[in-house]
């Protein structure tokens, strides 16, 4: 791959990351159901599985999480920490398992959503900013979020598979 192509790909990735955070904010504002989705997390898993590059994935996840934190009331670094870890884990998983199997994707998306909720909650409790997903009656919301993220993630992966086979 030439240097120009590499720079172009990096630019596209940065633009995609910005677009995902913006679109998530606007969709969550316009449609109530989108509060259950976490597009940045789905993209982290998608990117990790597609690229299988743990280093790049850790940086991408960290950046994506920081952007997410800036638009929320979370202390800066909460989502940055969680998304970096999960994006790295997704890329590492793709090196060891066959992530083209739908069942692997279902498990990964659901478990990564739960892990994200738990990590954010643990960091929130440590920082004294609340239990996030595990406080009050919200564990049910977290499971619902896992289901929605899994369905949307599967659609994204399906789209990617179709595109890959077409080219």
């Amino acid at each position: 791959m030439s240097r120009v192509q590499k720079i172009g790909n990096a630019g596209m990735t940065v633009l995609t990351v910005l677009a995902i955070v913006v679109v998530q904010g606007i969709l969550a504002y316009r449609f109530r159901v989108f509060r259950y989705f976490d597009l940045p997390l789905i993209y982290c898993v998608y990117y990790g599985f597609r690229m299988s590059k743990p280093v790049a994935s850790a940086f991408l996840g960290g950046g994506l999480g920081l952007l997410q934190d800036s638009l929320s009331a979370f202390p800066l670094g909460t989502n940055g920490f969680c998304k970096a870890l999960l994006c790295f884990a997704a890329a590492s998983t793709s090196l060891k398992f066959n992530v083209d199997q739908p069942i692997t994707r279902v498990f990964a998306l659901f478990l990564f959503t739960l892990a994200d909720g738990l990590l954010v909650s643990i960091l929130g409790l440590t920082m004294g900013t609340g239990g996030g997903a595990i406080s009050g009656g919200r564990p049910l919301d977290l499971i619902l979020s896992g289901v929605f993220n899994t369905l949307l993630g599967l659609m994204m992966f399906g789209f990617r598979d179709r595109y890959r086979h077409a080219t």
């Binding site: 955070v21 904010g25 800066l76």
Partner: protein, 299 residues
């Protein structure tokens, strides 16, 4: 042992994690709060958000302007009727307002009011799933500061959490980390309402002797030094079982957050109205601290 080939991956991960932990720890001790970084990230993100939002608004405008006009004539007639009634009410209340102003001047009490406000448009919502914040299109350049009160004609929306040059993030009153000093309109009992992270507010540990019932109106008390006094806040929606001494209550906010389009930011609050010493207020149900809207402040 980690092989040489695998080491860079772990080093990169640990670097990113340590960087994020450092950011978190800076915010814990409040001395070096990385507000500049949040401001920078907001300045990067919000122009894009404004652009997409205006596109979405344009599409919705086409729908509202051309396709959703069925039944408008009937609605128009109904609104005309309501308008006539309201004009009559205003005429009746005008005299009461003049009388109140005369009495205020007579007693030497400062003029009541909200203060200087700036109108803002909501352009986005919290992109993470666990917090309740909105993004507005007004920032430092419009005079918006951290901890400014954000309201609508219906009631209190929240407080400004972080500010960038031309945008700000507002923490809603329903956020799980939000607390607001309030009082009941009729009984004047003061209380501290907390967000639940859902659609309601909750009031814990209120003495059940006060005889508060479902439907009681709650207004801001102004003791949090964030929100002006007397703004509509919520209506009591359910009251828990009587405990030994205390009971719990839930309240539905007056503002419908799912339809929030435009808000007002109070950038210069009016001088607080002095509390008459012969007030019929009962003792506070929950002690209100000076910074009760949220336990955390952002620079």
């Amino acid at each position: 042992m980690v092989s040489k080939a695998k080491r860079p991956g772990w080093i990169a991960l640990v670097s990113v994690l340590v960087f994020n932990l450092l950011l978190l720890s800076l915010q814990t001790n409040q001395h070096g709060s990385p507000g500049f970084m949040r401001k920078l990230l907001l300045d990067i993100l919000v122009p894009g958000e404004k652009l997409v939002d205006s596109g979405v608004r344009g599409l919705w405008g086409i729908w509202d302007g051309y396709f959703a006009l069925i039944g408008v004539q009937g609605e128009n007639e109904k609104l005309r009727g309501e308008n006539d009634q309201l004009r009559m009410q205003i005429q009746q209340q005008d005299e009461s307002v003049r009388e109140a102003a005369r009495l205020r001047a007579f007693l030497g009490i400062a003029e009541a009011g909200i203060g200087k406000t700036v109108a803002a448009r909501v352009i986005g919502r919290d992109p993470s799933r666990f917090q309740q914040t909105i993004t507005i299109d007004r920032g430092q350049s419009d005079g918006v500061k951290s901890n400014d009160s954000v309201i609508t004609p219906d009631g209190v929306v929240g407080r400004v959490f972080s500010v960038a040059s031309r945008s700000a993030v507002v923490q809603l009153i329903t956020d799980a980390q939000s607390e607001i000093a309030a009082m009941f309109r009729e009984s004047r009992v003061q209380a501290l309402f907390k967000g639940t992270g859902g659609r309601e507010l909750e009031l814990n540990y209120i003495d059940d002797d006060y005889g508060i019932e479902v439907g009681a109106e709650v207004i801001t008390s102004g003791f949090d030094q964030i929100h002006p006094r007397g703004l509509p806040l919520a209506t009591i929606s359910s009251i828990g079982e009587k405990g030994e001494h205390f009971r719990m209550m839930s309240a539905r906010p007056r503002v419908d957050f799912s339809r929030l389009e435009d808000v007002l930011v109070v950038i210069e609050p009016a001088t607080p109205v002095a509390e008459p010493s012969q007030s019929p207020s009962k003792p506070a149900a929950t002690p209100a601290s000076p910074a009760v809207h949220s336990s955390r402040t952002e620079g």
